[in-house]
């Protein structure tokens, strides 16, 4: 097999607090190919921190350590800020939760997309503008000319998130981290945004890390799923075989989903056990071949 796009081993994110060290991520490891990898876990389980650590965006007092963090075979662990900046945006990018807050309110949408593109691709302003228009069209925004001149507050949530996707994909990164990209959106536009994201990521043969707390969504949308609990991966599953989950936490998550075909009065509460925090992961080993045979 060839090198995976991204290979992470024993990733740890530690915060020094007054009560001692707090580990938000405790030894996470996975390989990412040109696939859609879901990361699921409850709030606070360290999903976002994992994403930010990959981008080198954990700010002090947070500290990142790992045995390995490689992008196409080259280590990106603790690179200098200068070198990391050349990777951010151009090779690994990220879409965040709420476009209301993640777009700059006083810059036009066009300027924000053009900035992202020109930073890495350079080129003339006119050419960058054309690229921005193309990207807006690619995320199915009608009247891209008008949207280019508009400000973020004039856009709806669904539009805003499509703009974010257009902006982050403009410099053609190989990996996109989508951190709960649809959690802040109306249910009615979620599918639409997901489909656009899916198509773009597939067409470009990118690797996608899709972070969510919604197991159902991830199961539909991803090839493989990592289940995180308290900063660790407790189980790795193929999305098709989710029902074969062996870890009690995953089983609990699956059972707490309401089902139309088997309605119940009360959904079961998920009881947690201390042993989950430190038990080893179950499921496929890290070193198995990546789907797609790349």
């Amino acid at each position: 097999m060839t090198d995976p796009l991204l290979s992470v081993r024993n990733l740890r994110v530690t915060f020094a607090t007054r009560q001692g060290e707090f580990q938000a991520v405790r030894g996470v490891g996975f390989d990412l190919g040109r696939e859609r990898l879901g990361v699921v876990g409850e709030s606070g389980s360290g999903k976002s921190m994992t994403g930010r650590a990959i981008l080198g965006l954990v700010r002090p007092p947070g500290r990142v350590t790992a045995d390995r963090m490689e992008l196409e075979g080259q280590s990106i662990l603790n690179l200098s800020e200068r070198k990391m900046r050349r990777i951010r945006g151009s090779r690994i990018s990220m879409v965040m939760q709420d476009p209301k807050f993640s777009l700059n309110p006083v810059m036009t949408i066009g300027d924000q997309i053009i900035e992202a593109y020109r930073l890495h691709a350079g080129g003339a302003k006119g050419q960058a503008r054309q690229k921005a228009l193309d990207m807006l069209a690619a995320v199915q925004i009608r009247e891209p000319e008008r949207v280019m001149a508009a400000y973020p507050h004039e856009m709806s949530g669904g539009m805003g998130q499509r703009i974010m996707i257009a902006m982050m994909l403009a410099p053609d990164p190989e990996i996109l981290i989508a951190d709960e990209p649809t959690s802040a959106l109306d249910v009615s536009v979620r599918t639409e945004v997901l489909n656009i994201l899916d198509r773009l990521v597939r067409d470009r043969g990118m690797g996608l890390i899709f972070i969510s707390h919604d197991l159902n969504l991830v199961a539909q949308f991803c090839d493989r799923v990592l289940i995180m609990y308290a900063g660790r991966i407790v189980e790795t599953l193929s999305a098709r075989t989710l029902h074969e989950a062996r870890h009690p936490y995953t089983q609990g998550l699956l059972n707490s989903l309401p089902r139309l075909d088997a309605p119940v009065d009360r959904l079961p509460v998920l009881p947690r056990q201390d042993s989950w925090r430190d038990g080893g992961p179950v499921g496929e080993s890290l070193e198995t071949d990546l789907p797609g045979g790349l």
């Binding site: 981008l55 965006l57 800020e81 900046r85 050349r86 990777i87 951010r88 945006g89 151009s90 990018s93 990220m94 965040m96 939760q97 709420d98 807050f101 993640s102 777009l103 700059n104 309110p105 006083v106 810059m107 036009t108 900035e115 992202a116 930073l119 890495h120 400000y151 507050h153 974010m164 902006m167 982050m168």
Partner: protein, 326 residues
């Protein structure tokens, strides 16, 4: 615009009432202590004081709107002419002070926030604390002692050295500007050496305030999600701070700078006295001590109008800078 008119009306009402309730008899001030009863009555009527208060108030509004603040009893001039004379001195000082405060305070606040807890942040904190707590008269006297008395680097009190007094034709009343217009470099250098010390002093106080406000606005913005977006794009820290965060704080900063400028316009009384600066603060204070109410109220109205104008200006700038307000 309506709220603006109401504010102005409120200002006039307050100054009008103050003018009536002050324990100073305006008639007596005009006719003097030894006037006969008949003379007193005549003056009383001539000043319209026998008319109902409402009528008097409308008369007063008309007067103010036409720039008629009455005659100053201490200078014998029309108050409006006095103000035309002293206001540019204050304006020049406050403008230069604000320029100094902004050009140092804003970058200092931005850097302090960007390197929170670092050495520049600590220095900025101490500088601001000293600025807040140091009495201005002490600092002013020390400044004069050191830079004028001992080192001789700056001109002494007043706006100009004696030999330049009245040599520059007055166009704007701002001597720095007038001497430039006249192309008189010697006069410019002289005026500059006189204004630089008091302006630095005022600038220091405005710097203390502006740098603190800038820092706290900046910290708020640097924690926002769109800043993470900017970093994800791969932008340099400089671009993140100046192109993204700073553009967002420039909006509230406009108000802070306008407020600080306004307070220098009205509040530099002590500085003007220490540096014998013939400005509005000194004029109002002297008039107050002399019981010269027309001058005091005239000066007060000018200060009030300045505040209202600054508010209007910062509102307009707000609308230009913030796309969300459209």
């Amino acid at each position: 615009m309506l709220s603006l008119a109401l504010t102005l009306l409120g200002l006039l009402l307050v100054t009008f009432i103050i003018g009536r309730v002050m324990p100073i008899d305006p008639v007596l001030k005009v006719v003097g202590d030894r006037a006969s009863q008949a003379q007193y009555e005549a003056a009383y009527q001539a000043m319209g004081l026998d008319k109902p208060l409402v009528v008097q108030f409308f008369g007063y509004i008309g007067d103010v709107l036409t720039g008629n603040f009455g005659r100053s009893i201490s200078t014998g001039q029309l108050v409006i002419d006095d103000i035309r004379h002293v206001f540019p001195a204050t304006l020049e000082l406050a403008t230069l002070g604000t320029l100094i405060g902004v050009s140092i305070g804003v970058p200092l606040g931005v850097i302090a926030a960007a390197r929170r807890g670092g050495i520049i942040d600590q220095v900025a904190r101490v500088v601001a604390l000293v600025g807040y707590s140091m009495p201005i008269f002490w600092l002013g006297l020390m400044g004069l002692l050191v830079f004028y008395g001992i080192l001789g680097w700056v001109g002494g009190p007043g706006r100009q050295g004696i030999i330049f007094d009245g040599m520059v034709p007055s166009v704007t009343g701002l001597i720095l500007v007038d001497s430039l217009i006249a192309g008189d470099w010697a006069a410019f250098r002289d005026a500059f050496s006189h204004i630089i010390l008091p302006a630095s002093l005022l600038g220091y106080f405005s710097l203390a305030y502006i740098s603190r406000m800038t820092r706290s606005f900046m910290l708020e913005q640097l924690g926002a999600e769109y800043i993470t977006t900017a970093r994800v794009k791969g932008l340099s820290e400089g671009a993140v701070i100046w192109r993204h965060a700073f553009r967002n704080i420039s909006i509230p900063l406009v108000t802070v700078i306008a407020l600080s400028f306004g307070s220098l316009l009205e509040g530099s009384v002590l500085t003007e006295i220490i540096f014998s600066w013939p400005g509005l603060g000194q004029y109002i204070t002297k008039s107050l001590l002399a019981g010269d109410m027309s001058a005091v109220l005239g000066g007060t109205i000018v200060v009030g109008v300045c505040f209202i104008a600054l508010n209007l200006l910062s509102d307009l700038l707000y609308r230009v800078l913030d796309p969300r307000s459209k």
